[in-house]
Symmetry: C2
């Protein structure tokens, strides 16, 4: 469930007016900005952008970029983009980054629905005049590339039907493929890269039944190999995405320097989807509410914005 | 250009009535069927199916299947399906066939536009409750699988922009990848499987300029390897699809037993698109019109139907 608190109706013209006042003149009224966009869903934000453009002949996102700064600016920018376009931007940033973080690519490919992933790929075409596939392929190599390109390319079947005997058969293939000295990358990529999520979840469950341990447990603690790390993230994103994101938040805030990009990414991307479940899992695992952790690790308008998106009024 | 001769307006109710008379009672009036469906475009055929279903509470395609037989039935069945659904069926037939003919898979993946290919994948989901990707992956192996799965998975950028220095760089990579003793499958699959068609055509042209010979020429006469054969078909389908299909028709009709499936496939799939160009190339290459060849190699209602789709009145 979402944590975002948004009204049922749109007030695009009034909202655009408030935002216009907030960005005009000397100084910027960040609180006013948060009081509007922190309580509007994707459709309403899009309508606000349109109303703002029509009434003031400028792009609201560009205006925000020139008025705001730092982590707050980044969070607002990402929040204001349409979801598919936002994922396209996040993927591109991940690929261009010096410390390339391919987890974002795996998250987009494996957590989004097949149709959402397709929308991201369309947005990527529109924005970069290239395909997501070619950029992922260009920046990677070997089996790691095979897995990542397969994940972003595939248009999985989205139905709930599963084939139980196939699940058993492929759990067996994965067990042999992963646990041997020589990993069978080809079969692993084939299964993870083409089967439907429902079928893969059946396969992972069958794995646990047949081998007495979860497939992710068998992958952890293995050699420090980028293929295996990507494989682990892939399975986690498909099998238990909320648990996966609760862990991303934990890892981001339990280091010397908080990884604010990761925090922003999870909150902004999930506030309208399943942040409630992620919050609960975070709390259970860390004996601390996510709000409390964010309160400790962030500050200023950035903090106020994230806390708003966490919908604290909802508990 | 299309060869199909279709009226500007729809006469779906009247058409459905004529077809109803043609299939009712003892015997079937094949000529009447050809006189209608042989002159209707995809939108009009869809409207006829809908009108027929509404007025007579039965599926026209199913009725055709029970009334017709042999190659004529197959051609009518394929012609009546919506284009994306037809390609989904053709792909599935190719995969289930004992003498698996992967050319059809390559044709669908490389000749259709990126958006058309996506529509085929959606139709495949709907019809088979699986993805095209997983079925292609299941029936193939090794580098051949890597290429084929990449081709059907990818959502290429569809724009016309090209990067000339990239074309030169990748022509060089392909030259080295293909001509060495050890083929670099990985880079070949990356380039062919992810770049836009405009970019690939620029790369193939650059190849010819830099190495004095076309890339397809360098692939022909090589070892009898399924990967290389697939690679050749891929390049031909991207670079010169009409020439490729003229050759498919030539090959289908220049053997002891005419490959009627291949003939049907090309005519039915291209009558509304570019069969005029294919006809011209066929004639130039074989010193014989395509109509004349089909007249020689086929017979009966099947022949009459194909000749109708060839739009002979247009010359």
């Amino acid at each position: 469930m979402a944590t975002l608190i948004a009204p049922d109706h749109s007030f695009a013209i009034e909202d655009a007016e408030v935002l216009r006042k907030a960005v005009q003149g000397l100084g910027t009224d960040e609180k006013a900005i948060i009081s509007i966009i922190g309580y509007r869903n994707a459709v309403q934000r899009k309508q606000i952008r349109q109303a703002y453009e029509e009434n003031y002949q400028e792009d609201l996102i560009k205006r925000f970029e020139s008025e705001l700064s730092g982590n707050f600016e980044k969070a607002v920018y990402r929040w204001m983009l349409e979801p598919a376009d936002r994922d396209a931007v996040l993927a591109n940033v991940a690929l261009r980054n010096v410390t390339q973080d391919y987890r974002v690519i795996i998250e987009i490919a494996c957590v989004d629905s097949p149709h959402e992933l397709f929308a991201v790929k369309q947005a990527y075409h529109l924005r970069y005049k290239r395909s997501l596939e070619e950029d992922v392929a260009l920046h990677t190599k070997g089996h790691f590339r095979q897995l990542l390109v397969a994940l972003v390319s595939t248009y999985r079947y989205g139905g709930d039907e599963i084939n139980a005997s196939l699940a058993s058969e492929e759990a067996n293939i994965l067990q042999k493929a992963i646990n041997g000295k020589h990993i069978n990358h080809e079969e692993t990529v084939r299964i993870l890269g083409t089967r439907s999520k429902a079928q893969l979840n059946a396969t992972f469950s069958q794995y646990k039944i047949e081998y007495g341990t979860s497939i992710t447990k068998n992958l952890r603690g293995g050699p420090d190999d980028e293929f295996l790390a990507a494989l682990l993230a892939t399975i986690q994103c498909i099998y238990a995405p909320q648990k996966y994101f609760a862990k991303v938040l934990h890892n981001a805030m339990h280091k010397v320097w908080t990884d604010k990009d990761a925090v922003t990414h999870v909150i902004v991307t999930h506030a309208e989807k399943d942040l409630k479940e992620i919050k609960e899992l975070y709390c259970k695992k860390n004996n601390m509410t996510l709000e409390h952790a964010i309160d400790k690790e962030t500050s200023g308008d950035y903090k106020a914005f994230l806390i708003t998106l966490l919908g604290t009024q909802n508990g």
